[in-house]
């Protein structure tokens, strides 16, 4: 740069002067100063000392008229600048001042500015030509990608991304985006499936928990019921025996006898309920089950039913030959048949009706394949008890196995009979079904898993 040149030259000269030491005469100094001007490094130069100044005798040929008038260094604002370099001359400290003209520099700057502006202008023109081109090829696909990723982020994974572009990078990018999207869809489906499975498992575990709690509650009730039953049974002993001896002690025509008879009957009813409650709450462990000839149990129970029913009711029994045995407890099974029979008999009420009991062997494996494990294994025994009694409406059928649910008047039924039946059937791994029509009659069917005959 021009200014650097001046600086360098000035320094060089300052060094030469110093090397000369004190021996340089004024004339020699002037020569040196003039050489600066001649070299074009400066307009003029002078050596300024403490007392005097030695100036170059020449002005540079470029100086122009301005400096002739004012042969001196100007300050800022003139178009003349100078450098000042310290010099040791003749043992004294002088300053070598080199002045140079700013104007050429200014002109050069102006030219550079003009050039710069031209270049910028050219750039702008170029851009305004290129921009639409870029826009078409780059901005649009970028916008499309932007839109697509926004949609994915917001959760709608169904829109398909279409980007019209011939730029390889964009094609690849849009393909990657599609890939990411399909992966996201896959993951979200997986998550949904997992959530559903977890929900199902929870529902199942909740229902299992509920079943467990129900069981536990029943067991607690069972223990309680057992204890209460035992106590009540003890209490019933003196009631029944003393009522009996009291009747004996009264004259046959004494009206009090009737009252005491009723006491006796009430006590007997209580006994029945207690035994049903005990039956309901007691669970014979599977380990104590034996193989039972159900045909024999049914026959014996029907005989018993016949003796306790009025002659007016017709009770018939049909047992298929060679019925298989079942695994269970004989007293439970006879209780089952008796309760069903009692229920049927009570349904007849005052009508002249008919009760039919049948026992047969059936294959219901497929029907109970998903619900009853034991029934699904092999043949089953089917016990049906039908009556031509009053029948049941839908609401009654729904509640029929509820403990203490009864449609009978007080004193005629505890409402436990069928719930006991249900409990026994469940314990044996069987199934029970009810069909009924109001005023027509009802049929209760019990399926019990059969075993190989012994």
């Amino acid at each position: 740069m021009f200014i650097d040149n001046v600086r360098t030259h000035a320094r060089f000269l300052a060094d030469s002067l110093e090397r000369r030491g004190s021996t340089a005469t004024d004339a020699e100094v002037t020569d040196i100063l003039d050489s600066l001007v001649v070299s074009g490094s400066g307009v003029f130069s002078e050596l300024v000392g403490a007392n005097r100044t030695i100036s170059s005798s020449l002005l540079s040929p470029d100086a122009g008229d301005r400096y002739q008038e004012d042969f001196g260094f100007g300050g800022h604002g003139d178009t003349v600048y100078y450098f000042s370099v310290p010099v040791l001359h003749s043992g004294e400290q002088w300053n070598l001042r080199v002045g140079f003209d700013e104007l050429p520099i200014l002109e050069k700057n102006a030219l550079a500015n003009r050039n710069g502006l031209a270049i910028i202008g050219a750039y702008l023109v170029m851009i305004s030509i290129l921009m639409p081109m870029i826009g078409r090829r780059v901005v649009r696909p970028v916008r499309a990608l932007q839109r697509a990723s926004r949609e994915i982020a917001s959760g709608s994974l169904s829109e398909h991304l279409t980007v019209e572009t011939d730029l390889v990078e964009f094609v690849e990018l849009s393909r990657d985006l599609e890939l990411m999207k399909s992966r996201l869809i896959g993951i979200s489906q997986q998550l949904q499936q997992e959530m559903e499975d977890r929900e199902q498992a929870e529902v199942k575990s909740r229902s299992l928990q509920q079943q467990l709690r129900h069981r536990q509650r029943l067991e607690t009730v069972g223990t309680l019921a057992g204890g209460i039953a035992h106590e009540i049974n003890n209490i019933l002993v003196p009631i029944i025996l003393f009522a009996d001896t009291a009747i004996e002690d009264l004259a046959p025509d004494n009206p009090v006898r009737d009252d005491i008879q009723r006491v006796l009957r009430a006590a007997t009813r209580a006994k029945g309920i207690v035994s049903q409650v005990l039956m309901f709450s007691r669970k014979i462990p599977r380990g104590e089950f034996t193989s039972v000839d159900m045909a024999a149990v049914v026959r014996d129970s029907v005989d018993l039913l016949k003796t306790s029913m009025p002659v007016s009711a017709k009770l018939s029994l049909e047992v298929e030959p060679n019925c298989p045995f079942i695994l269970g407890d004989p007293s439970l099974l006879s209780q089952l048949v008796l309760n069903l029979g009692t229920n049927a008999y009570q349904a007849l009420g005052s009508r002249q009706g008919e009760i039919k009991v049948t026992l047969s062997s059936v294959d219901v494996r497929r029907r109970f394949a998903d619900s009853h494990e034991l029934l699904a294994r092999g043949n089953s025994l089917r016990l049906t008890i039908s009556d031509t009694g009053e029948g049941m409406d839908k609401n009654t059928i729904a509640r029929i196995f509820e403990p203490f649910f009864t449609t009978r008047d007080v004193g005629q039924g505890s409402g436990l009979g069928l719930s006991v039946v249900h409990g026994i059937v469940a314990d044996l791994g069987g199934a029970i079904e009810v069909e009924s029509e109001v005023e027509s009659g009802s049929t209760i069917t019990v399926y019990l898993p059969a075993i190989e005959q012994h």
Binding site: L236, T245, E248, L338
Partner: protein, 133 residues
């Protein structure tokens, strides 16, 4: 007419059973626990023992076995509070829980009745042994 020892912790059961059997002409002695029953057996002779196998705070089976040791020929009627399963008329003597039956068999009982029994039941149970005397 038999000499009967009745062991039961419930006073009403003792009194009512005693009354019923006395009316049949039997001699009935009642005690409220197996320990007292043992003491009685040692002192007197009895033909029939009526007792609940399940007595609070003591092993009824053991007690009855020991009584048998002292009085070998005694007939034992076990009365149980376990509940009647509705088939009592089906068999002369009530069906009761399998466990109770096994306990009764263990104790060497000759007969099992479930409370509450009819007057006729307890009367028949006692008189069935008299034929053999």
């Amino acid at each position: 007419m038999s000499r009967i020892l009745l062991i039961d912790d419930d006073p009403d059961v003792r009194d009512s059973v005693a009354k019923v059997l006395s009316r049949e002409g039997h001699t009935v002695t009642t005690v409220d626990g197996a320990q007292k029953g043992l003491e009685m057996i040692v002192k007197e002779h009895f033909d029939v023992l009526i007792a609940d196998l399940i007595m609070p705070g003591m092993d009824g089976v053991q007690a009855i076995r020991r009584i048998r040791e002292v009085n070998g020929g005694i007939k034992i009627i076990a009365i149980s509070g376990g509940g009647d399963f509705g088939a009592k008329r089906y068999r002369p003597h009530a069906i009761t829980t399998t466990a109770y039956l096994e306990a009764a068999a263990d104790a060497g009982a000759d007969c099992v009745l479930t409370k509450p029994f009819e007057r006729a039941d307890i009367v028949d149970a006692v008189s069935q042994f008299e034929g053999g005397e």
